[in-house]
Assembly symmetry: C2
Homo-oligomer: 173 residues x 2
């Protein structure tokens, strides 16, 4: 799909295609449509990120709270979005042993209790060993720093999803 | 459900229960959770509305774009949210004759083309005759006024959904 095609979409099509660039936040894609036309993938990405950055802190936390746990109950129940399912599967999180799953579940619960949002990580840049190592590390970070880190991960995930949709080369992002 | 129960929810439960108070915008419920504890239904409602009011115009338009058409393709395909299905059904929009459906579809299309968002109306305060009369009337309003009107309808819908969830008396809202 090229940018001309993107710019020709009515808001219904646009939200259908880009509604999950930010996990379970179709509102953001629906808002970004107001900024068309877009010059290229980079420009489209810029508008998604600008919307996130302009939200009050509660809204930024809200975005994080729309994300599932990694290797959590939604993976087990099969209720992940297609994008999340692919990303978690690619990082090897669908084939964890019982011990690893339990360890991650405990860390996820501690993280949620500490920060009030779930642990978010661009799983495609990671693997099963790195996920729990990174979770354990970030669990100890100060809250304000952790919010920034987590939103950075949301943007990495969004970049990769946008690149997939426009069939761009992720290495160029 | 009383307010004590609401205040005891972790964000996962809260988003599960209140995620569709604003149609297809779980981000908003997820953001509102940051403002707990809530003193009562009125206070909870206030935080939902304050979040909407604080969004940039693109975000407010984004909320509207997450709404389905009344008596539109989603109703026919059966892909409405449970809340929308109930509301549209209660207003008699599921049993329109072919002529009425066609007339509404034409008006909806004109409205979307004119304003860049779908026609939103609190259907529970309306009936099939009033819907197309109101659509035809609002189609002629200035854009800035229509955005305000439409967001007012989003808030009416949200009030009714919150009241349902807390089993409050809608007459007292």
């Amino acid at each position: 799909m090229d940018i001309k095609k993107v710019n020709s979409m009515d808001f219904g099509e646009f939200v259908d295609v880009f509604g999950n660039v930010i996990e379970r936040c179709p509102l953001i894609a629906a808002a970004v449509w107001s900024q068309r036309p877009f010059s290229d993938l980079e420009d489209l990405k810029k508008h998604f990120f600008a919307f996130i950055d302009a939200l009050p802190q509660s809204g930024q936390e809200g975005i994080l709270r729309c994300h599932p746990d990694l290797a959590g109950s939604e993976l087990r129940r099969g209720t992940l979005t297609a994008e999340s399912q692919r990303e978690q599967s690619g990082a090897g999180l669908t084939t964890l042993g019982a011990d690893e799953r339990l360890r991650l579940a405990e860390l996820n619960a501690q993280y949620r209790a500490r920060f009030g949002f779930p642990f978010v990580l661009a799983a495609r840049f990671s693997d099963r060993a790195a996920v729990s190592r990174e979770l354990a590390r970030r669990l100890l970070c100060p809250s304000a720093q952790e919010l920034r880190t987590a939103l950075g991960e949301v943007k990495k995930i969004g970049s990769l999803r946008l690149a997939d949709l426009l069939r761009a080369d992720p290495a160029k992002l």
